[in-house]
Amino acid sequence: MKRWIGPVLSFPVTAWLLLAFAAPMIVVVLLSLHEYPSPFGPVIQSPSLVQFVKILTDPFYLSVIAETVLLGLAVTAISALLGYPLAYWLARMPSKWRALSFAVILIPLLTNVVVRSLGIMLLLSPQGLINTFTGWFGIPPVETMLFNHGAVIIALAQVFMPFMVLALYDNLQNTSPRIHEAAESLGASPGMRFLTVDFPMSLPGLRSGVIVVFLMATTSYVSATLLGGGKVWTMGMLVLNEAISNLNATMASALSLVMTTVGLGFIALATLWLNRFMRWRQGVPSSPWTIPAWVATLVDTVGAPLRYLLLFCSIGLLILPLVLVMVQSFNDVPLATAAGFKGFTLEWYRRVLIEGDYTSNFVVSVKLALVAVAIAVALAMPAAFALARYPFRMRPVLLAFWMLPLSLPGVAIAVGMLKLLQVYLIIPPFAGLVSIHVVVILPFIITLLTTSAMSLDRSLEEAAASLGANKMRCFLLVTLPGMAPGIFAAALVGFLMSFGEVTVTSFLTTARLTTLPVRIYSEATFALEPTAHAISALLIVVTTVALALLGKFVRLDRLYSR
């Protein structure tokens, strides 16, 4: 194998990240080494580790790190537990319904994180849906469901579970029916087949999903701020406080780097641990999993009802808050968070559709997301193949570098960008925003495309080559169509990530380039009207109709399944 192929394929994405991400990252590192915060001081000063010593010797910071990690683990576990049955269900959905079924995860992703968190509040509040429902059976309302760790974990799981589902989906739907037939012909019961075939083969997707969800959960702050009621602390909140409230970019940078280290540590541990169960992927001899008979019997007995129960819970968690958002969009109340239905109104729709309150912001968001996704997919495709097929010496180091934007809190990138703002004022604002959005979504797209590239059946390419197809023809007619579900999933995740990005964008937004999430976020910091619910409801309806129509006329099944 030619050794230069891997490095060459890795070059485009590495170059982009060096230009658009390494610069603010270096600024963050330099700032973290300042002895004292100095908003107007030079970036390069004599280095000091005093900020890190402060963090690592202060019980408060250590407790927040521990709280954040535990919160991230809980969110990851719930996302995996609820996301797996959903991904399994989607992967086995008849192809004509699959597009519409995807709405279950796409609609939440299209809805702003602030609005989704408000939906969770409407679900859990003392006068919310759950208490109303249990009240019908005479059960007294539980008034302590909000403003605690449980509420934050549920909200974060609602926000991030779709990423777990997308990561698992590609693996699960790639499992060839022939493998199932082989397992059945060898006498495996459905439970045994799941334990020895489906689950092991979905581990690469589970690994990607676990890493992505953990990193996103531990660096987020919006849901924790809205639903934690000040009782829940995360590192993201601390970084934001230091950077924004205290103008202490030095401590914010040091905290960000500590969080990044924790994130990278988690990636290493999760990868090492899960790889132990995937030795078959590395081509080394490994024994098949030994499943005790009683476990298989147990799975055969309770597996199906448990799966449907978890599926019901996951769909409920994803959809119910959005139903409440839609109801709230017709509610005649002054603020988006007002509890209880006070009266029917179309005022919020009039504001959106006739006064065009959000039109320009929506257009900016869509343009930005489309351009960012096109560039990110073009950069990530070669990188995915470099990772999947062309091992080279520097690959682990490069992979760590490519994943860094994911583990560095968005607000930290923003802190670095603020220092570089004068440079970015010279660059056209749209190009500046695109470059940063590409950085933010690249880790997701690389992860999903790599998982997809690793799942490709290489015997098909060998067959094409043996029939005389040259490498380009083979790539265009065999490899690329084989990657289509992965590319679709990656582009979709990238679009939604970019469309919803608010943390870094709010720092770089200009008078002519205010995105929809930044606009909603800006109103939420003052007084959010139900207009935000109205535009979210419109997006939900448009997405559902578009998916239904696309599924009917464009043969999306060709796209989803090979």
């Binding site: 403003f147 701020t225 000040g230 924004i244 205290n246 002054p334 968070t337 800006s522 007084a527």
Partner: protein, 346 residues
């Protein structure tokens, strides 16, 4: 060198104008097509300025007004990063941010170059141009109170134990709560440790409220019964959603907080920015703010209509607002925030 009469007259005029130019640099007159960039909160404030200020400015100069919407945090962080080369012309900040920004050379102090400056109350001339008083006070569920609250000390009444949503951090509400605690119990501003110990007596809190929207949810949902919040928003909330919500008028006074319009240092649209601020300080805009969101005028030439009497601050009670030593507070902000995080919120 010979000099003709015209040249001599020109030189004389320049010489006479020189002192004025030393006092105040000459700024270019606005011309059609100029763009004024205003950083302001989204929502109601954005709507009010778009309705009451922008049309008049555009009509007069043929200029364009663009907005950067968001919270003061991001706005201030960006303005600090751009000090001397701002992308904003006018920046809206809160009371302590605006005074710090002037001290740090990010924004300009208030000046009589804005004609309506002369009507500003002295309190509103610090840190830029105060455009709205928005005092902070105790707000509470009156059905949970054995008697109306008349003092900041009433928060220590045992009936509120476990029912208080203390405001988050050292923002406007948070610092108001802490400083009014100090005033009520007789602590000096340099006795922050004592203030913290006093506040800790109120624990456990029902929650820490991070915004008025969150507080109103907590009140709606019976999670908490008392907090410290802006009187203006709370009045709107009480009138539209919760008639049981009361706004206290403690004997120690209400804490002054204020929205401030700040013209950035280095703006390329000085005249337009001054004209914008002047329009904001006009009686029409002040009344619009008072009518729509109960923000109190900061100028003394506004006649408050009877229906707003008692709901906004008027000339007679501006002096009752309690102001703090913001320079001292800003100098100790990081240290106090750390203590707050660990001992009050933690």
């Amino acid at each position: 060198m010979a000099m003709n009469r015209r040249q001599f007259t020109g030189l004389m005029a320049a010489g006479l104008a020189a002192p004025a130019s030393i006092i105040r640099p000459a700024y270019a007159q606005p011309k059609p097509g100029d763009e004024l960039v205003v950083g302001i909160w989204g929502g109601a404030q954005e709507k009010i300025v778009k309705k009451h200020i922008e049309p008049k400015l555009v009509e007069k100069y043929g200029c364009k007004v663009s907005y950067v919407l968001g919270g003061t945090g991001e706005r201030r962080a960006r303005a600090y990063a751009e000090r001397g080369r701002p992308s904003f012309d006018v920046l809206y900040l809160n009371i302590y941010e605006s005074r710090q920004a002037v001290a740090d050379g990010v924004t300009q102090p208030a000046s009589p170059a804005v004609p309506n400056y002369e009507y500003l109350y002295p309190l509103a001339r610090n840190g830029g141009y105060g455009v709205a008083f928005n005092p902070c006070t105790i707000v509470y569920d009156k059905t949970a109170a054995s008697a109306p609250i008349t003092s900041w000390k009433d928060m220590w009444n045992p009936e509120w134990k476990g029912r208080i949503a203390w405001p988050n951090g050292l923002g406007a509400e948070g610092i108001s709560a802490l400083m009014m605690t100090a005033k009520a119990w007789g602590y000096g501003i340099d006795e922050f440790d004592k203030v913290v110990e006093k506040v800790k007596e109120l624990k456990p809190f029902a929650g820490i409220q991070g915004s008025q929207a969150q507080l109103f949810d907590m009140l709606d949902q019976n999670v908490a019964d008392l907090s410290v919040e802006f009187a203006s928003f709370t009045r709107m909330y009480a009138e539209s959603r919760n008639p049981n919500c009361a706004i206290a008028e403690p004997i120690e006074g209400q804490a002054v907080t204020m929205n401030v319009a700040c013209i950035t240092e280095g703006t390329r649209n000085q005249k337009l920015a001054e004209e914008w601020v002047n329009l904001h300080l006009s009686p029409e805009t002040m009344l619009a703010y008072a009518n729509e969101i109960y923000y109190s005028p900061t100028v003394n030439n506004v006649e408050i209509p009877p229906e707003l009497q008692g709901k906004v601050i008027t000339a007679g009670n501006v002096d009752s607002l309690v102001d703090f030593d913001w320079d001292y507070i800003n100098a100790h902000r990081s240290e106090w925030q750390a203590k707050y995080d660990r001992e009050i919120a933690g």
